[in-house]
Symmetry: C2
Subunit: 377 residues, 2 copies
């Protein structure tokens, strides 16, 4: 039982044998997770968005110590935040009563350290030295010079797109594959311009729209939790499926006990909120997503400035045993989560994918005349 990519596919060139990519999930994907996934024949990923170059180098090297297979390193390419002292002060004041629940106060001010790969020369230099097999971009694209340097270093490049316009920019930049992120996906929308109106296209629609508009390989992301949905997105024309939430409950992820309890709670629901980080992201519904829905909620500071307040509030809550203010990123299909080791999850997903394709074949009698044959699983 095996998968054969189009030989021209970037995944085929990488030697990836399973059409599954573990999403980078900055903060949650560990070297152990990425390595376990890559060792299983799929493509593991690290998310180094927000990390300093040397810290990122350490996790890349740690991962390399655990696998000799290719893996993906994801960077954040957001435009720089617009600092706004009034908006930030008002936000901190608005959050005062929430901090007060935990006998705490908001920080006096929010950090404006909002490093982005778009001008982080140290991270670029580190990547050119470490040469991970794949580098992927989220929130936009870096300058063409950086893209060219990475490509010249033999690194395969992916970039997230949430609509056809962004996909066109990705294709124009000669990226190797598009991560088509549907609205079902957990965590941050990869939208290039967070101020633009977002249609929130679902994975199915987005893959079909992009399939029509570009010959680039498409990696479908959002709402994929099992082999049936992997078979589904392959049928849509994706070359591979990227799963994040499904890997959050593996023992290899950095999810803590409270995260795992929320992820495995059959009552958990997800919602989009900007209140945690300043950018739209899908999280398990909790006190933070409620804040974002409060009609009195003021304008939220830019990403990632708002994150400083969220981290402080979460820390205050955790100190009192509450995880009500955690950033519990998860996709809308979170209720389909299954806790098992990453390698077992990849094997399960692959077997389910094969089974789903086989059962599809039993439904259709394909061919005509003497060529007709009923295909059995």
């Amino acid at each position: 039982m095996n998968f054969s990519f189009d030989p021209a596919s970037p995944l085929a060139k990488l030697g990836v044998s399973v059409p599954i990519i573990q999403a980078p999930m900055a903060g949650w994907a560990t070297p152990a997770l990425a390595a376990a996934v890559s060792n299983s024949g799929a493509l593991g990923s690290l998310g180094i968005g927000g990390m300093k170059a040397e810290d990122a180098r350490a996790v890349i090297r740690k991962t390399r110590s655990l696998t000799d297979k290719p893996f993906n390193v994801n960077v954040f390419c957001h435009r720089h935040a617009a600092a706004d002292a009034f908006r930030e002060a008002r936000w901190l004041t608005f959050l005062e009563p929430y901090f007060a629940r935990f006998q705490a106060s908001p920080p006096a001010a929010l950090s404006h350290d909002a490093s982005s790969f778009i001008d982080d020369d140290a991270v670029l230099a580190m990547l050119l030295e470490e040469r991970p097999a794949v580098v992927s971009f989220h929130f936009g694209l870096p300058a063409l010079a950086a893209i060219g340097a990475l490509r010249d270093a033999g690194i395969v490049l992916f970039a997230t797109a949430t609509n056809a316009d962004e996909a066109g920019q990705v294709a124009d930049a000669q990226i190797d594959a598009i991560v088509a992120q549907g609205a079902e996906a957990g965590g941050h929308r990869g939208t290039f311009d967070p101020a633009a109106s977002d249609e929130l296209l679902g994975t199915m629609t987005l893959v079909r729209l992009l399939r029509r508009e570009t010959p680039l390989p498409i990696i479908a992301a959002g709402g994929i939790m099992d082999g049936a949905s992997i078979a589904g997105v392959l049928a849509l024309g994706a070359q591979a499926a990227q799963l994040g939430t499904a890997f959050l409950v593996t023992p290899e992820s950095a999810a803590d006990a409270a995260d795992r309890a929320a992820l495995l709670n059959p009552q958990s629901r997800t919602a989009f909120t900007k209140a945690i980080s300043g950018r739209l992201a899908r999280s398990i519904e909790n006190a933070f997503t409620d804040i974002g829905r409060d009609p009195g909620c003021p304008s939220i500071p830019d990403y990632p400035i708002a994150f400083g307040a969220a981290r402080a509030l979460n820390a205050a809550a955790k100190a009192h045993g509450s995880s009500a203010f955690a950033a519990q990123w998860a996709g809308e299909a979170v209720r389909l989560s299954r806790a098992m080791p990453a390698a077992e999850l990849v094997a399960t997903l692959l077997q389910e994918t094969v089974d789903a394709i086989a059962s599809l074949r039993t439904g259709f009698v394909i061919g005509s005349g003497s060529d007709t044959s009923r295909l059995h699983p």
Copy 2:
């Protein structure tokens, strides 16, 4: 080339040979459309929500004059609207400037005629006499007595569900199949309780959640525009795909020239709005969806009371050559619309579905040892 349903499937029992259902689309699905689809081996549908019993009988008989194949008749099972004179008056006042653009005034009052199948004995009696092959329910379920009477008359029953709780109610009522309506779908969300918080689950997530929770056949609806997406939802475990928007641009639909221009405009986008009917529905973005986003937009009258104002405003606009206030229901994948006759569309969709399944098979090498065979399309 053919499709073989599980022999126990309600679609198999009906003699439907193509796993495609044309959505009922009250106001847009005509006898000519339903008959053309059913004559093609798929299942055509009529939407009689909002029609009087004798008018509905006429369209059923008209359809029967055009096909001897089974078709589906959809009814609306909404709870009765709560009249609210203050809210309605305020709504009409709010709309005054919009009417004024067309030298018109809002109606003096809104009709409270909000007939629902839940207590429309005349429509029930008519259906028991006419005995269409399938009756489907939207916005909820009628009383068990009505369900039993329809079943005893040999009618196959479908009902829409937008989440697992509604699907559970459908299963408990011994309905034959669930129409799993994802958030991508055009027109009205089938939500049972419009006041309940709506997760807006996408089609992919909803089908997988329901597939796990119920053995009932699932008909996937929302975002399906071509054979690749039909193959996709079949891979997810759906027994059939229901397509509405894809059929709106067939010559057999009741869409007018302005509707068709909007549906085929590559710039068209869709959005949810309650401003047209009082219930959440997905429409092509136009002046009406803008109204719903206006921060000054007051509370909207209950469905279908608000519809009276929308119809009057649309009529005033149309009289001045504007279709800016039309109810242009469409799914989020509207940009994948292709104008062709309904029979040709069904044949195209079926061929594409077969092709998508065949190309899936080329990706996987299934089996092991001497049983291994590379499947070619």
